[in-house]
Protein backbone atom coordinates (compact mmCIF):
# COMPACT_ATOMS: atom_id res chain seq x y z
CA UNK A 1 0.00 0.00 0.00
CA UNK A 2 1.26 3.45 -0.79
CA UNK A 3 2.09 5.29 2.42
CA UNK A 4 2.39 9.01 2.35
CA UNK A 5 4.64 10.49 4.97
CA UNK A 6 6.21 13.83 5.57
CA UNK A 7 9.51 12.79 4.01
CA UNK A 8 8.15 11.73 0.65
CA UNK A 9 6.02 14.83 0.02
CA UNK A 10 6.60 16.45 -3.34
CA UNK A 11 7.41 20.13 -3.45
CA UNK A 12 3.96 20.87 -4.87
CA UNK A 13 2.28 19.00 -2.02
CA UNK A 14 4.44 20.80 0.53
CA UNK A 15 3.50 24.16 -0.93
CA UNK A 16 -0.19 23.22 -0.98
CA UNK A 17 0.02 22.07 2.65
CA UNK A 18 1.77 25.26 3.68
CA UNK A 19 -0.82 27.38 1.86
CA UNK A 20 -3.67 25.59 3.61
CA UNK A 21 -1.99 26.02 6.98
CA UNK A 22 -1.07 29.67 6.44
CA UNK A 23 -4.24 31.53 7.55
CA UNK A 24 -4.78 29.59 10.79
CA UNK A 25 -1.06 29.58 11.59
CA UNK A 26 -0.85 33.33 11.03
CA UNK A 27 -3.70 34.06 13.44
CA UNK A 28 -2.41 31.75 16.18
CA UNK A 29 1.24 32.79 15.76
CA UNK A 30 0.56 36.52 15.69
CA UNK A 31 -2.07 36.51 18.41
CA UNK A 32 -0.76 33.79 20.70
CA UNK A 33 2.80 32.61 20.09
CA UNK A 34 4.26 36.08 19.50
CA UNK A 35 2.57 37.73 22.51
CA UNK A 36 3.49 34.65 24.55
CA UNK A 37 7.17 35.21 23.72
CA UNK A 38 6.79 38.94 24.33
CA UNK A 39 5.44 38.25 27.80
CA UNK A 40 8.54 36.15 28.52
CA UNK A 41 10.79 38.95 27.35
CA UNK A 42 8.87 41.72 29.09
CA UNK A 43 8.95 39.86 32.41
CA UNK A 44 12.75 40.29 32.46
CA UNK A 45 12.70 43.98 31.65
CA UNK A 46 12.21 46.98 33.88
CA UNK A 47 9.99 49.87 32.79
CA UNK A 48 13.12 51.67 31.57
CA UNK A 49 14.00 48.75 29.32
CA UNK A 50 16.89 47.35 31.37
CA UNK A 51 17.26 43.58 31.78
CA UNK A 52 16.47 42.68 35.38
CA UNK A 53 14.93 40.13 37.70
CA UNK A 54 13.16 42.82 39.74
CA UNK A 55 9.75 41.97 38.29
CA UNK A 56 10.04 38.46 39.65
CA UNK A 57 11.17 39.53 43.09
CA UNK A 58 8.34 42.07 43.22
CA UNK A 59 5.77 39.57 41.92
CA UNK A 60 6.88 36.92 44.39
CA UNK A 61 7.03 39.26 47.36
CA UNK A 62 3.55 40.68 46.75
CA UNK A 63 1.83 37.71 45.19
CA UNK A 64 3.88 34.71 46.33
CA UNK A 65 1.17 33.84 48.83
CA UNK A 66 -1.55 34.12 46.20
CA UNK A 67 0.50 31.94 43.86
CA UNK A 68 0.74 29.17 46.43
CA UNK A 69 -2.92 29.66 47.31
CA UNK A 70 -3.85 29.24 43.63
CA UNK A 71 -1.79 26.06 43.32
CA UNK A 72 -3.38 24.77 46.50
CA UNK A 73 -6.93 25.52 45.33
CA UNK A 74 -6.28 23.91 41.96
CA UNK A 75 -4.69 20.89 43.63
CA UNK A 76 -7.62 20.38 46.00
CA UNK A 77 -10.08 20.87 43.12
CA UNK A 78 -8.20 18.36 41.00
CA UNK A 79 -8.20 15.79 43.78
CA UNK A 80 -11.93 16.23 44.33
CA UNK A 81 -12.53 16.05 40.59
CA UNK A 82 -10.57 12.80 40.23
CA UNK A 83 -12.42 11.20 43.13
CA UNK A 84 -15.84 12.22 41.80
CA UNK A 85 -15.25 11.42 38.12
CA UNK A 86 -13.51 8.09 38.84
CA UNK A 87 -16.40 7.01 41.05
CA UNK A 88 -19.05 8.04 38.56
CA UNK A 89 -17.06 6.82 35.57
CA UNK A 90 -16.58 3.49 37.34
CA UNK A 91 -20.28 3.19 38.16
CA UNK A 92 -21.12 3.89 34.53
CA UNK A 93 -18.59 1.32 33.35
CA UNK A 94 -19.75 -1.38 35.77
CA UNK A 95 -23.49 -0.84 35.82
CA UNK A 96 -26.30 0.63 33.80
CA UNK A 97 -27.27 4.17 34.79
CA UNK A 98 -28.95 5.54 31.67
CA UNK A 99 -29.44 9.16 32.74
CA UNK A 100 -26.27 9.64 34.72
CA UNK A 101 -23.93 10.18 31.77
CA UNK A 102 -26.26 12.76 30.28
CA UNK A 103 -26.59 14.64 33.58
CA UNK A 104 -22.83 14.89 34.00
CA UNK A 105 -22.31 16.09 30.43
CA UNK A 106 -24.29 19.25 31.21
CA UNK A 107 -21.42 21.20 32.87
CA UNK A 108 -19.47 20.94 29.63
CA UNK A 109 -22.09 23.10 27.96
CA UNK A 110 -22.54 25.68 30.68
CA UNK A 111 -20.29 28.74 30.23
CA UNK A 112 -17.56 29.49 32.79
CA UNK A 113 -19.10 32.85 33.73
CA UNK A 114 -22.47 31.24 34.30
CA UNK A 115 -20.90 28.60 36.56
CA UNK A 116 -19.25 31.34 38.59
CA UNK A 117 -22.49 33.25 39.00
CA UNK A 118 -24.53 30.12 39.69
CA UNK A 119 -22.18 29.05 42.49
CA UNK A 120 -22.30 32.53 43.93
CA UNK A 121 -26.08 32.51 44.03
CA UNK A 122 -26.18 28.93 45.25
CA UNK A 123 -23.63 29.18 48.05
CA UNK A 124 -23.98 32.79 49.21
CA UNK A 125 -24.79 33.38 52.91
CA UNK A 126 -28.37 34.11 51.89
CA UNK A 127 -28.20 31.85 48.87
CA UNK A 128 -30.39 29.07 47.64
CA UNK A 129 -28.49 26.24 49.34
CA UNK A 130 -28.86 27.81 52.77
CA UNK A 131 -32.51 28.61 52.01
CA UNK A 132 -33.11 25.00 51.09
CA UNK A 133 -31.36 23.83 54.24
CA UNK A 134 -33.43 26.15 56.40
CA UNK A 135 -36.67 24.75 54.93
CA UNK A 136 -35.86 21.41 56.49
CA UNK A 137 -36.08 23.17 59.85
CA UNK A 138 -33.00 21.44 61.13
CA UNK A 139 -30.78 24.48 60.87
CA UNK A 140 -31.04 28.01 62.09
CA UNK A 141 -30.79 30.05 58.89
CA UNK A 142 -28.77 32.82 60.51
CA UNK A 143 -26.00 30.61 61.76
CA UNK A 144 -25.42 28.75 58.49
CA UNK A 145 -21.98 29.33 57.04
CA UNK A 146 -21.34 31.07 53.76
CA UNK A 147 -19.29 29.13 51.25
CA UNK A 148 -19.63 31.48 48.33
CA UNK A 149 -16.82 33.95 48.80
CA UNK A 150 -14.43 31.44 50.25
CA UNK A 151 -12.01 28.82 49.05
CA UNK A 152 -14.80 26.27 49.13
CA UNK A 153 -16.86 28.31 46.68
CA UNK A 154 -13.92 28.45 44.28
CA UNK A 155 -13.26 24.73 44.59
CA UNK A 156 -16.96 23.94 44.08
CA UNK A 157 -17.15 26.06 40.93
CA UNK A 158 -13.89 24.77 39.43
CA UNK A 159 -14.82 21.15 40.10
CA UNK A 160 -18.35 21.61 38.81
CA UNK A 161 -17.27 23.16 35.53
CA UNK A 162 -14.71 20.41 34.88
CA UNK A 163 -17.03 17.49 35.75
CA UNK A 164 -18.09 17.11 32.12
CA UNK A 165 -14.68 16.96 30.46
CA UNK A 166 -13.20 14.99 33.36
CA UNK A 167 -15.87 12.33 33.15
CA UNK A 168 -15.55 12.06 29.37
CA UNK A 169 -11.81 11.44 29.55
CA UNK A 170 -12.18 9.03 32.46
CA UNK A 171 -15.03 7.09 30.86
CA UNK A 172 -13.22 6.82 27.54
CA UNK A 173 -10.34 5.11 29.32
CA UNK A 174 -12.54 2.88 31.50
CA UNK A 175 -14.55 1.67 28.53
CA UNK A 176 -11.40 0.35 26.86
CA UNK A 177 -10.74 -2.02 29.77
CA UNK A 178 -11.20 -5.67 28.90
CA UNK A 179 -14.46 -7.09 30.26
CA UNK A 180 -12.94 -10.50 31.11
CA UNK A 181 -10.40 -8.82 33.37
CA UNK A 182 -13.23 -7.22 35.35
CA UNK A 183 -15.12 -10.53 35.39
CA UNK A 184 -12.08 -12.19 36.93
CA UNK A 185 -11.84 -9.52 39.61
CA UNK A 186 -15.56 -9.82 40.28
CA UNK A 187 -15.17 -13.57 40.57
CA UNK A 188 -12.59 -13.02 43.28
CA UNK A 189 -15.27 -11.10 45.20
CA UNK A 190 -14.28 -7.48 44.51
CA UNK A 191 -17.08 -4.98 45.16
CA UNK A 192 -17.74 -1.96 42.93
CA UNK A 193 -15.59 0.47 44.88
CA UNK A 194 -12.75 -1.97 45.00
CA UNK A 195 -13.09 -2.58 41.26
CA UNK A 196 -12.89 1.14 40.61
CA UNK A 197 -9.97 2.01 42.88
CA UNK A 198 -7.97 -1.20 42.68
CA UNK A 199 -8.52 -2.06 39.03
CA UNK A 200 -9.95 0.63 36.78
CA UNK A 201 -7.93 3.58 38.07
CA UNK A 202 -4.51 1.86 38.31
CA UNK A 203 -5.01 0.21 34.91
CA UNK A 204 -5.68 3.59 33.34
CA UNK A 205 -2.98 5.56 35.14
CA UNK A 206 -1.92 7.20 31.88
CA UNK A 207 -5.38 8.48 30.95
CA UNK A 208 -6.06 9.67 34.49
CA UNK A 209 -2.75 11.55 34.27
CA UNK A 210 -3.77 13.23 31.01
CA UNK A 211 -7.07 14.24 32.50
CA UNK A 212 -5.29 15.60 35.58
CA UNK A 213 -2.82 17.65 33.55
CA UNK A 214 -5.47 19.09 31.22
CA UNK A 215 -7.94 20.05 33.93
CA UNK A 216 -5.23 21.42 36.23
CA UNK A 217 -4.11 23.78 33.46
CA UNK A 218 -7.65 24.85 32.76
CA UNK A 219 -8.33 25.49 36.46
CA UNK A 220 -5.11 27.45 36.84
CA UNK A 221 -5.87 29.63 33.85
CA UNK A 222 -9.50 30.16 34.75
CA UNK A 223 -10.17 33.87 35.07
CA UNK A 224 -13.93 34.22 34.83
CA UNK A 225 -14.72 31.93 37.78
CA UNK A 226 -12.60 33.82 40.34
CA UNK A 227 -13.78 37.07 38.75
CA UNK A 228 -17.40 36.11 39.37
CA UNK A 229 -16.94 34.56 42.79
CA UNK A 230 -14.42 37.06 44.09
CA UNK A 231 -12.97 36.77 47.54
CA UNK A 232 -13.83 37.96 50.99
CA UNK A 233 -10.39 39.38 51.72
CA UNK A 234 -7.31 37.28 52.24
CA UNK A 235 -5.70 35.33 49.46
CA UNK A 236 -7.10 35.37 45.96
CA UNK A 237 -6.49 33.55 42.71
CA UNK A 238 -3.35 34.67 40.87
CA UNK A 239 -5.24 35.52 37.67
CA UNK A 240 -7.11 38.23 39.55
CA UNK A 241 -3.77 39.75 40.64
CA UNK A 242 -2.56 39.67 37.05
CA UNK A 243 -5.68 41.45 35.85
CA UNK A 244 -5.30 44.01 38.62
CA UNK A 245 -1.67 44.71 37.63
CA UNK A 246 -2.65 45.26 33.99
CA UNK A 247 -5.83 47.24 34.30
CA UNK A 248 -5.24 49.32 37.42
CA UNK A 249 -1.44 49.47 37.86
CA UNK A 250 -0.53 49.07 34.19
CA UNK A 251 2.68 47.47 35.36
CA UNK A 252 3.28 45.00 32.56
CA UNK A 253 6.64 43.84 33.89
CA UNK A 254 5.15 42.47 37.10
CA UNK A 255 2.04 41.23 35.29
CA UNK A 256 4.17 39.28 32.84
CA UNK A 257 6.33 37.90 35.63
CA UNK A 258 3.13 36.55 37.22
CA UNK A 259 2.19 35.22 33.79
CA UNK A 260 5.48 33.35 33.41
CA UNK A 261 5.05 31.84 36.87
CA UNK A 262 1.68 30.46 35.77
CA UNK A 263 3.22 29.13 32.53
CA UNK A 264 5.70 27.19 34.64
CA UNK A 265 2.90 25.69 36.72
CA UNK A 266 1.05 24.61 33.58
CA UNK A 267 4.03 23.14 31.74
CA UNK A 268 2.63 19.67 32.36
CA UNK A 269 0.38 19.69 29.29
CA UNK A 270 3.16 20.78 26.95
CA UNK A 271 5.58 18.20 28.37
CA UNK A 272 2.98 15.50 27.94
CA UNK A 273 2.53 16.42 24.29
CA UNK A 274 6.27 16.43 23.60
CA UNK A 275 6.63 13.05 25.29
CA UNK A 276 3.89 11.65 23.06
CA UNK A 277 5.62 13.00 19.94
CA UNK A 278 9.11 11.78 20.82
CA UNK A 279 7.79 8.30 21.60
CA UNK A 280 6.70 7.84 17.98
Amino acid sequence: MRRINAFSLTLKQQLAGAAIAAPALTVVTLLFVYPFLRSLQSSFRSQEGVWTLDNYSEALSIYGGDYLYTLWICGVSLLALIIITATIGGLLRLGVYPLLEFIFKIPLFVPFVVVGHAMRVFLAPHGTLNSALSITGMFNPDTLPSFAFSSLGLVAALVWKNLGIGLLLMLGAFRSVNESMLEAARGMGAGKLKLIWHFLVPMNKGSVGVMAVLTFTSMLGSFSIPAMIGNAGGSQMIMMDLYHQIVYQQNYGVANAIGVLTYIASLGAAIYYLKGVTKK
Binding site: M1, A6, L9, Q13, G17, A18, L25, V28, L31, F32, V33, P35, F36, R38, S39, I88, Y97, L99, I103, K105, I106, L108, F109, V110, P111, F112, V113, V114, H117, A118, M119, V121, F122, T128, L129, S131, S134, P141, W160, I165, G172, V210, G221, F223, S224, A227, M239, L242, I246, Y252, G259, V260, Y263, S266, A269, A270, Y273, L274, G276, V277
Partner: protein, 286 residues
Protein backbone atom coordinates in the same frame (compact mmCIF):
# COMPACT_ATOMS: atom_id res chain seq x y z
CA UNK B 1 -19.89 -3.63 52.77
CA UNK B 2 -18.76 -4.89 56.17
CA UNK B 3 -17.78 -8.48 56.70
CA UNK B 4 -20.56 -9.57 59.13
CA UNK B 5 -23.24 -8.30 56.75
CA UNK B 6 -21.70 -10.19 53.89
CA UNK B 7 -21.59 -13.37 55.97
CA UNK B 8 -25.19 -12.84 57.05
CA UNK B 9 -26.25 -12.44 53.46
CA UNK B 10 -24.43 -15.50 52.28
CA UNK B 11 -25.86 -17.71 54.99
CA UNK B 12 -29.45 -16.43 54.64
CA UNK B 13 -31.98 -18.48 52.64
CA UNK B 14 -32.04 -17.79 48.90
CA UNK B 15 -35.30 -15.80 48.69
CA UNK B 16 -34.43 -13.58 51.63
CA UNK B 17 -31.02 -12.89 50.13
CA UNK B 18 -32.58 -11.74 46.89
CA UNK B 19 -34.89 -9.31 48.66
CA UNK B 20 -32.02 -7.97 50.74
CA UNK B 21 -29.86 -7.40 47.70
CA UNK B 22 -32.55 -5.73 45.66
CA UNK B 23 -33.52 -3.25 48.39
CA UNK B 24 -29.85 -2.54 48.93
CA UNK B 25 -29.37 -1.98 45.23
CA UNK B 26 -32.44 0.21 44.91
CA UNK B 27 -31.42 2.44 47.79
CA UNK B 28 -27.91 2.72 46.42
CA UNK B 29 -29.20 3.55 42.96
CA UNK B 30 -31.62 6.10 44.38
CA UNK B 31 -28.88 7.73 46.47
CA UNK B 32 -26.51 7.97 43.49
CA UNK B 33 -29.19 9.62 41.35
CA UNK B 34 -30.28 11.98 44.11
CA UNK B 35 -26.74 13.17 44.80
CA UNK B 36 -25.98 13.60 41.10
CA UNK B 37 -29.14 15.54 40.37
CA UNK B 38 -28.57 17.77 43.38
CA UNK B 39 -24.96 18.39 42.38
CA UNK B 40 -25.72 19.36 38.80
CA UNK B 41 -29.14 20.96 39.00
CA UNK B 42 -28.84 22.63 42.41
CA UNK B 43 -26.71 25.55 41.22
CA UNK B 44 -28.53 25.79 37.89
CA UNK B 45 -31.99 25.88 39.41
CA UNK B 46 -30.97 28.74 41.71
CA UNK B 47 -30.30 30.80 38.60
CA UNK B 48 -33.78 30.07 37.28
CA UNK B 49 -35.31 30.93 40.66
CA UNK B 50 -33.43 34.22 40.89
CA UNK B 51 -34.35 35.19 37.34
CA UNK B 52 -38.07 35.13 38.19
CA UNK B 53 -37.77 36.61 41.69
CA UNK B 54 -38.97 40.18 41.79
CA UNK B 55 -38.51 40.41 45.51
CA UNK B 56 -36.73 37.95 47.71
CA UNK B 57 -36.22 38.77 51.37
CA UNK B 58 -34.07 36.67 53.63
CA UNK B 59 -34.89 34.23 55.20
CA UNK B 60 -37.84 33.28 53.00
CA UNK B 61 -36.97 30.00 51.32
CA UNK B 62 -38.70 31.10 48.12
CA UNK B 63 -39.04 34.45 46.37
CA UNK B 64 -41.54 36.75 48.06
CA UNK B 65 -42.83 38.02 44.76
CA UNK B 66 -42.60 36.13 41.48
CA UNK B 67 -42.72 37.66 38.05
CA UNK B 68 -41.06 38.29 34.77
CA UNK B 69 -40.30 41.96 35.45
CA UNK B 70 -36.54 41.47 35.06
CA UNK B 71 -36.96 39.42 31.90
CA UNK B 72 -38.93 42.30 30.39
CA UNK B 73 -36.41 44.79 31.69
CA UNK B 74 -33.57 42.76 30.24
CA UNK B 75 -35.16 42.60 26.83
CA UNK B 76 -35.85 46.31 26.75
CA UNK B 77 -32.40 47.45 27.78
CA UNK B 78 -28.87 47.09 26.57
CA UNK B 79 -28.89 43.35 27.00
CA UNK B 80 -30.60 42.80 23.68
CA UNK B 81 -27.77 44.46 21.78
CA UNK B 82 -25.24 42.36 23.70
CA UNK B 83 -27.23 39.26 22.84
CA UNK B 84 -27.25 40.19 19.16
CA UNK B 85 -23.54 41.02 19.22
CA UNK B 86 -22.62 37.72 20.87
CA UNK B 87 -24.64 35.62 18.44
CA UNK B 88 -23.38 37.61 15.46
CA UNK B 89 -19.75 37.17 16.46
CA UNK B 90 -20.27 33.49 17.25
CA UNK B 91 -21.75 32.89 13.78
CA UNK B 92 -18.95 34.76 11.99
CA UNK B 93 -16.27 32.96 14.04
CA UNK B 94 -17.86 29.56 13.34
CA UNK B 95 -17.95 30.19 9.59
CA UNK B 96 -14.34 31.44 9.43
CA UNK B 97 -13.22 28.45 11.49
CA UNK B 98 -15.05 26.05 9.23
CA UNK B 99 -13.45 27.47 6.09
CA UNK B 100 -9.93 27.62 7.52
CA UNK B 101 -9.67 24.48 9.64
CA UNK B 102 -11.53 21.80 7.64
CA UNK B 103 -8.89 21.57 4.88
CA UNK B 104 -6.04 22.04 7.36
CA UNK B 105 -7.30 19.32 9.70
CA UNK B 106 -7.66 16.94 6.73
CA UNK B 107 -4.13 17.62 5.51
CA UNK B 108 -2.76 17.08 9.02
CA UNK B 109 -4.77 13.88 9.54
CA UNK B 110 -3.35 12.48 6.27
CA UNK B 111 0.24 13.58 7.04
CA UNK B 112 0.36 15.73 3.94
CA UNK B 113 1.96 18.69 5.61
CA UNK B 114 5.60 19.44 6.33
CA UNK B 115 6.64 19.75 9.98
CA UNK B 116 3.33 18.33 11.17
CA UNK B 117 4.34 18.02 14.81
CA UNK B 118 5.55 21.59 15.03
CA UNK B 119 2.32 22.84 13.46
CA UNK B 120 0.31 20.81 15.96
CA UNK B 121 2.45 22.06 18.84
CA UNK B 122 1.74 25.65 17.83
CA UNK B 123 -1.95 24.84 17.86
CA UNK B 124 -1.61 23.21 21.27
CA UNK B 125 -0.07 26.24 22.98
CA UNK B 126 -3.30 28.26 23.41
CA UNK B 127 -4.85 25.24 25.09
CA UNK B 128 -1.82 24.40 27.20
CA UNK B 129 -1.14 27.81 28.74
CA UNK B 130 -3.41 30.25 30.55
CA UNK B 131 -5.05 32.81 28.28
CA UNK B 132 -5.11 35.93 30.43
CA UNK B 133 -1.33 36.60 30.59
CA UNK B 134 -1.03 36.16 26.83
CA UNK B 135 -4.17 38.08 25.93
CA UNK B 136 -3.03 41.02 28.02
CA UNK B 137 0.01 41.23 25.73
CA UNK B 138 -2.25 40.85 22.71
CA UNK B 139 -4.08 43.89 24.02
CA UNK B 140 -0.85 45.92 23.89
CA UNK B 141 -0.24 44.78 20.31
CA UNK B 142 -3.82 45.50 19.31
CA UNK B 143 -3.59 49.02 20.72
CA UNK B 144 -0.66 49.50 18.36
CA UNK B 145 -2.66 48.13 15.42
CA UNK B 146 -5.79 50.16 16.38
CA UNK B 147 -7.82 47.02 16.89
CA UNK B 148 -8.89 47.45 20.52
CA UNK B 149 -12.59 48.16 20.80
CA UNK B 150 -13.27 47.12 17.19
CA UNK B 151 -15.32 44.22 15.95
CA UNK B 152 -12.36 42.94 13.93
CA UNK B 153 -10.25 42.79 17.08
CA UNK B 154 -13.01 41.00 18.94
CA UNK B 155 -13.46 38.41 16.18
CA UNK B 156 -9.69 37.87 15.93
CA UNK B 157 -9.30 37.26 19.66
CA UNK B 158 -12.20 34.79 19.57
CA UNK B 159 -10.60 33.08 16.58
CA UNK B 160 -7.38 32.27 18.48
CA UNK B 161 -9.13 29.90 20.87
CA UNK B 162 -11.78 28.80 18.38
CA UNK B 163 -9.28 27.73 15.69
CA UNK B 164 -7.41 25.58 18.18
CA UNK B 165 -10.57 23.98 19.45
CA UNK B 166 -11.84 23.35 15.95
CA UNK B 167 -8.54 21.97 14.62
CA UNK B 168 -8.02 19.41 17.36
CA UNK B 169 -11.55 18.03 17.13
CA UNK B 170 -11.49 17.95 13.32
CA UNK B 171 -8.12 16.17 13.14
CA UNK B 172 -9.57 13.35 15.24
CA UNK B 173 -12.69 13.32 13.06
CA UNK B 174 -10.66 12.90 9.87
CA UNK B 175 -8.35 10.36 11.50
CA UNK B 176 -11.38 8.20 12.23
CA UNK B 177 -12.17 7.90 8.50
CA UNK B 178 -10.59 4.85 6.87
CA UNK B 179 -7.97 5.75 4.28
CA UNK B 180 -8.71 2.82 1.89
CA UNK B 181 -11.99 4.55 0.97
CA UNK B 182 -10.00 7.43 -0.50
CA UNK B 183 -7.53 5.11 -2.16
CA UNK B 184 -10.43 3.35 -3.87
CA UNK B 185 -11.56 6.69 -5.24
CA UNK B 186 -8.04 7.49 -6.53
CA UNK B 187 -7.90 4.08 -8.24
CA UNK B 188 -11.12 4.85 -10.05
CA UNK B 189 -9.64 8.07 -11.34
CA UNK B 190 -11.01 10.57 -8.81
CA UNK B 191 -8.77 13.56 -8.29
CA UNK B 192 -7.72 14.67 -4.80
CA UNK B 193 -10.19 17.55 -4.81
CA UNK B 194 -13.03 15.37 -6.13
CA UNK B 195 -12.30 12.68 -3.53
CA UNK B 196 -12.23 15.24 -0.72
CA UNK B 197 -15.59 16.72 -1.60
CA UNK B 198 -17.42 13.55 -2.67
CA UNK B 199 -15.95 10.87 -0.41
CA UNK B 200 -14.32 12.38 2.68
CA UNK B 201 -16.59 15.32 3.38
CA UNK B 202 -19.91 13.40 3.43
CA UNK B 203 -18.49 10.84 5.90
CA UNK B 204 -16.98 13.55 8.08
CA UNK B 205 -20.14 15.69 8.13
CA UNK B 206 -21.47 14.67 11.57
CA UNK B 207 -18.06 15.35 13.12
CA UNK B 208 -17.77 18.67 11.34
CA UNK B 209 -21.22 19.67 12.61
CA UNK B 210 -20.22 18.74 16.17
CA UNK B 211 -17.00 20.71 15.95
CA UNK B 212 -18.75 23.77 14.51
CA UNK B 213 -21.29 23.73 17.31
CA UNK B 214 -18.51 23.52 19.88
CA UNK B 215 -16.79 26.50 18.26
CA UNK B 216 -20.07 28.40 18.28
CA UNK B 217 -20.50 27.72 21.99
CA UNK B 218 -16.85 28.60 22.70
CA UNK B 219 -17.25 31.98 21.03
CA UNK B 220 -20.55 32.63 22.75
CA UNK B 221 -18.94 31.96 26.15
CA UNK B 222 -15.58 33.67 25.53
CA UNK B 223 -14.93 36.06 28.40
CA UNK B 224 -11.24 36.91 28.89
CA UNK B 225 -10.55 38.19 25.38
CA UNK B 226 -13.89 39.98 25.12
CA UNK B 227 -13.26 41.83 28.38
CA UNK B 228 -9.77 42.97 27.38
CA UNK B 229 -10.31 43.74 23.69
CA UNK B 230 -14.02 44.46 23.24
CA UNK B 231 -15.11 46.30 26.37
CA UNK B 232 -16.35 48.94 26.87
CA UNK B 233 -17.27 49.61 23.23
CA UNK B 234 -18.55 46.18 22.31
CA UNK B 235 -20.03 44.33 25.27
CA UNK B 236 -20.69 40.66 24.69
CA UNK B 237 -23.14 38.68 26.82
CA UNK B 238 -20.59 37.21 29.26
CA UNK B 239 -19.09 40.67 29.86
CA UNK B 240 -22.57 42.15 30.28
CA UNK B 241 -23.29 39.46 32.84
CA UNK B 242 -20.03 40.14 34.66
CA UNK B 243 -20.89 43.84 34.89
CA UNK B 244 -24.42 43.10 36.10
CA UNK B 245 -23.18 40.68 38.77
CA UNK B 246 -20.48 43.14 39.85
CA UNK B 247 -23.19 45.75 40.42
CA UNK B 248 -25.14 43.24 42.55
CA UNK B 249 -27.99 43.19 40.04
CA UNK B 250 -28.71 39.59 40.93
CA UNK B 251 -31.82 39.25 38.81
CA UNK B 252 -30.39 40.83 35.66
CA UNK B 253 -27.27 38.68 35.95
CA UNK B 254 -29.43 35.60 36.46
CA UNK B 255 -31.59 36.37 33.42
CA UNK B 256 -28.42 36.78 31.36
CA UNK B 257 -27.02 33.52 32.74
CA UNK B 258 -30.14 31.62 31.80
CA UNK B 259 -30.02 33.09 28.29
CA UNK B 260 -26.33 32.16 27.96
CA UNK B 261 -27.04 28.65 29.14
CA UNK B 262 -29.92 27.95 26.76
CA UNK B 263 -27.95 27.47 23.49
CA UNK B 264 -25.60 24.93 25.09
CA UNK B 265 -28.32 22.91 26.80
CA UNK B 266 -30.46 23.03 23.66
CA UNK B 267 -27.60 21.76 21.51
CA UNK B 268 -26.86 19.04 24.04
CA UNK B 269 -30.47 17.85 23.91
CA UNK B 270 -31.02 18.13 20.17
CA UNK B 271 -27.67 16.91 18.97
CA UNK B 272 -26.78 14.21 21.45
CA UNK B 273 -25.94 11.82 18.65
CA UNK B 274 -23.34 14.18 17.17
CA UNK B 275 -21.68 14.90 20.50
CA UNK B 276 -19.59 11.76 20.56
CA UNK B 277 -17.14 11.49 23.41
CA UNK B 278 -14.13 11.02 21.17
CA UNK B 279 -14.68 14.41 19.52
CA UNK B 280 -15.09 16.18 22.82
CA UNK B 281 -12.08 14.52 24.38
CA UNK B 282 -9.73 14.98 21.45
CA UNK B 283 -7.40 17.45 23.12
CA UNK B 284 -3.74 16.71 23.54
CA UNK B 285 -3.83 13.44 21.67
CA UNK B 286 -1.96 13.09 18.43
Amino acid sequence: MSKPLEVALLTAPMSERGAWFSTLRLTRRFTIYAISIFMIFGPLSSLLLWSVAEKWFWPNPFPTQWGFKYWQQAFEGKMLSSLGLSFGIAIVVSIICLVITVPLAYVIARNRIPLKHIVLLIFLLPQAFPQLPVFSNVMVLMYRWDLVGTLTGLILIHLVGALVFSLWTLVSVFQSIAEPLEEASYMLGGSRIYTFFHVVLPIALPGIIASTLLVFLYSLDEFTGSLLIGAPYHITMPVFMYNAAGGYEMQVASVTSVLLMIPGILLLFLLQKYMRSEYLAAFGRV
